[in-house]
Symmetry: D2
Subunit: 391 residues, 4 copies
């Protein structure tokens, strides 16, 4: 059976597609058609069959004061694209608490973008030979991979065999790009070489050993992209004045929710709400929003220090981000990155700074929500802003 | 230390805030300022400290033919908000394959929105008393909860004790709304009642027993929101003509990637790419994008049938969605929902249909990506569209 | 190729088999042949092709004072079958600390033995019909199941569909028996009835939806067998005199190890060492030692109370145990159960008491090991007992 | 409150303890007192407060033909200590099927015994310094560790920081010993050195980053001890004659149970029954039975090959085993190891062979159970042996 419905692909512009859909469906798409970026570029790079845009409100939280590992301290305004009332206000409150406490320390490391193809072998012996080949030929594989782009370095390769399958995880430095596209191309070349050299067939270029856009212990344990840590010490005064609570109550809430609650629920998120903040920053800055899944994993910690202050830390093991490529080149997204001072590439330094800013922003979100919950002011305070949100 | 930076909260409009930020940062935010929805409404309901919008390109995939449980069949154009080139084209290819195979069957069920507060008790005996109280008083608690909103029904309550903590999971029917806000308010009322009646303190209104916006086995095993299933049988001809592959190769790819690859990686996503499609639909239609985390979980199945055809199914145990409330009322998002014919509320029927459409869309994504991987046409085909994407 | 090696099955006795193996392998099995139980019975009920026994040393820890939910308090000597030096001494130390603190409170609940067969359907529609059938016909299925044994009650049935598979979890009360055998027979009868009534085929009587003898979140979240809780409050004096530590240090150790360490490691065991104690009790009393896997899951909690005392609790969600059937009838195992005062059946009361005793014993193990670790006396103290054990 | 109950520790012998318990409890422990190993040795090395033994029946399954990676093929009789009727018969059937198919190929690798202490730091900066110290000083730490025993090599060190905690995983080669005791002593020395050199405090010598005796993704993903693989190809004739089934039915059962059933249940055991076989071999040979938990994890694979034959493979990522030390020196356990030809140490070769034998034994168990389930002969066949067992 052939579908008799209209084909949108052949139409020349977003306007033509909107018109056709408006006719066919009897609807109006007038708001969708209002955008200011260059349609030709976006159509070819970001979105096929384009009909326009979703306008997602962007609010600004902060500023939040962050101290980077090099000792530099800066204040950041955080662009948050969200439709969920109370989020910006909540993160702002956390930023205020952090900044008034002297700021947060942030730190990231580069694990890198990964691709994990899977090969089908005929026996355990062949699987072992493939394992050995990949280990022995690392320098050759690296050469092949790096010939595909000057922006990419192959850092390491690991593999695991299961039955007639061998999974190989390639880890790359892709500088300021999130990099999955270039990593896929590079891995494809390497895989072709391995197939020829070993007469083994690759079943899938991505064997869920990457692991891309799915929650996974592989990434939680071995990390991916740019893991980030942030910490702050909230004084008794800040806890009381800004957050309307105290160290003991926030600690108790954290223990009950982020530790034991997550344990009993089988969660990979031992945190209060990383996903909210990560999603808002990702959409504002043109990241791939499916990577919010990976950014939702991680562990928040709380420790009472000096009697009445609270050390609070966040750890996100798996942030896939970039300041070039993907959606970062679109007009509004580029503006959001410029607000953070990290638009464009800088040999990895921009992406590194971005990871650290995300760490600080996520910390602000945790500080605020855990404090809210601690005081049970939650639904009361939110009925005013946006009925009943826990953010 | 007080932050000396400018406060945005006191400024009267998004324009004033943009100007201030442009001055302070030496940047331009001109594109960000271009939007068409009503600022006053969005400022109060969706986003504090608003400075404008992120313009996220929306493409249309499909149509895809879906048969609902009531026997009705309809063709849907899918609005996908994305910045990742190749996604719309890929989903479209999947839609074509499904539709030319006679369409997909879709089915959903209503579990409901959940809140899982945590109480602190003083002993196992008190924990047992609290457990008994909640079970015995269900009708009373239901009355209290439902007094907070006529759109909400308390369906069930379960609880688990761990040490001095008792976690209680309240499950609600919230009709066409995703409903977390009203659920939070209702649970807050119920919790206050329990606190008074039992002299037990609630430590956190959300104890990560909900589990909201984090990957969790609680939700994977016991489901949340509107779980959805979709299935299609792809004929040999469709597999060959539309997808350039055959049943055996797609099956092998699925097995290596979605089953064994996900198993060895400790993933909750035994699928190829649910998150991509879920994220694009969520952003286009005003869902909470942090819920993409929950929508990334689930299991794709593949079975060779009739010798050379392929039955392919998707199962998403945890979709938190709505057609009213949250971001669904914004101008472009409302248009996207109207394209699907499900804008506004309809006593739960719109949300149910929406879940089923998402199931069909996710199925289309799986069909296309697994086929792509199967043929290793992957990086070659994508270099033309958007260098090297696996979508 | 036929194996030319000797067949043991045809030989008439364990002695004959030992002799044959001694000849064939040139070894001696003289110790293996020393046992005192009735060979005929054990050969038919417990172990085919018997050649004798493994003699596993049994030590006694305790006594530990436990208060049951009915208010009765008793002191228990714990029979621990182990070859790992230091375990009995360590548990004894924990028992002493608990008893000198006034004893532990213990509590269990009956979830029940489960079987989770899987059916293969031809479509989502058929899957939905099967789901409805099972729900609607519960009383009929219960009747069929319970006709297979007067010791068994079918308590509930739940099901989940994934693609062309439907998993059904049958939950049974099997009184004092661990009960998997009778549960399997009963489920087999029910499954045959469902197959005939619905014309749907069961693919496997156990579809890993039970989940038997594998770590699983299904059992961690929804529990299995007889979940158990135990708690004690250790005073400052006991912490100091018996355990050579204090509340703060044990708390810190617990937090670093059982909470954050287990979170970062993706463990289902948020505890120090349940498996050691569970294994030792299981082997001594004739439980199925493969069920140690399920008994290793669970959460230990620690809370500082009254300034300098420590509340410590254990929660084991999945204990599959019995006081009749399986290995409980063997001579030495029966003696171990008699030491606990729970040999034989008592309409479920013995198994319930046994669960509670295991809870108390596991608590003793946690108290001791966490204290040891807290004081870093670990390797020093154990070099004396058994070089370097962490127990 | 002092416990007034009798102390067993001061009594001079197992006989004296039995007598005292018999008096106090009014029971008899006559069978428990029947053992043949040397009491003095066992009392000091294996079990404090000894009162005697648990006699666990040992049956012999096999022989099973295994081909080792060096090309050597041998037939093994498998000593299985079990009280669960049907297990030995089931494994024997699997052994027969494997052997008549030409035997299984087995392969293992040495990851090593691990210890994962946790340090408490005062800031992210200090955590980073500790990370750097451990990486930089590897050779020095190796020297310190290896000075504690000539049987141990420190292979590698990895670490992860979370908040104010840093977890360090030390991986050792312990030759033929399971080795946790020596590993604990060595790690203790290294930890003391690190504490002094860095002025950082170790909170727990085992921070559940090892991960010992708990199910964990850390070990599933990164492996532990001696991972092992085994594979066999079962011909149509063997499937039919020995196993009463065929390739398609076993494949279907495996898919429904080990893959999708385990996925939907959140299990780390994508297998049918590793724990049964691992437990029986562990108890017979004097392994630490709490390590059955780790041995229960792993993935079974099934692939139809050559049209009607079945390739079946097992993968156990985490086997903690030894042929010297622990319970391996006890009389009956030593005899069981001698039956396998691997008693005592051989520079790691015995432990390696043992791992491979376990792989073959586990494969036999999977072959038999999956075949049983496939034919639904399950409960019928087992009613004859031991009512209703699924083994």
């Amino acid at each position: 059976m052939k579908s008799t419905t209209v084909s949108l692909r052949t139409l020349p512009s977003s306007e033509a597609r909107r018109k056709r859909l408006e006719e066919v469906r009897g609807i109006t798409l007038s708001h969708t058609g209002k955008f200011t970026f260059d349609e030709a570029t976006a159509s070819s790079r970001n979105c096929e069959n384009m009909i326009g845009v979703a306008q997602v409100p962007v609010g600004v939280a902060g500023p939040v004061r962050l101290t980077h590992p090099d000792g530099n301290t800066a204040d950041y305004y955080l662009p948050l694209a969200t439709t969920e009332g109370a989020l910006v206000a909540s993160v702002s409150r956390g930023c205020k608490a952090i900044t008034e406490s002297g700021g947060a320390s942030v730190r990231s490391s580069l694990v890198g973008a990964t691709r994990g193809p899977v090969f089908k072998v005929r026996s355990l012996a062949e699987s072992a030979r493939l394992e050995a080949y990949v280990a022995d030929q690392f320098l050759r594989l690296k050469e092949i991979a790096e010939a595909t782009s000057r922006h990419l370095k192959l850092k390491s390769v690991t593999s695991t065999g299961v039955g007639l399958y061998r999974y190989i995880r390639f880890v790359y430095d892709t500088k300021d790009a999130m990099g999955l596209n270039m990593v896929t191309i590079a891995t494809d070349r390497v895989v072709r070489h391995i197939e020829e050299a070993t007469e083994t067939a690759c079943v899938a270029l991505s064997g869920n050993f990457c692991v891309d856009k799915k929650p996974s212990w592989q990434n939680m344990v071995n990390k991916r992209g740019r893991p980030v840590w942030a910490e702050a010490v909230l004084s008794k005064a800040v806890l009381s004045d800004v957050l309307k609570t105290d160290a003991v109550h926030v600690f108790d809430t954290w223990m009950a929710k982020c530790m034991i609650g997550s344990a009993i629920s089988g969660s990979m998120g031992f945190n209060a709400q990383y996903a909210n903040v990560v999603a808002a920053l990702f959409i504002a800055t043109g990241q791939d929003p499916a990577h919010v899944v990976e950014g939702s994993m991680g562990i928040t910690t709380a420790t009472i220090v000096n009697g009445d202050a609270l050390h609070i830390g966040v750890y996100l093991p798996d942030l896939m981000i970039g300041t070039v490529g993907g959606g970062t080149g679109l007009a509004t997204q580029r503006e959001a990155l410029s607000l953070l001072g990290i638009g464009g590439g800088d040999d990895g330094a921009h992406a590194e700074r971005f990871a650290e800013i995300i760490g600080g922003a996520v910390l602000a979100g945790e500080v605020s929500l855990l404090s809210s919950l601690a005081e049970q002011t939650l639904s009361r305070s939110h009925e005013k802003l946006a009925r009943g949100k826990i953010i």
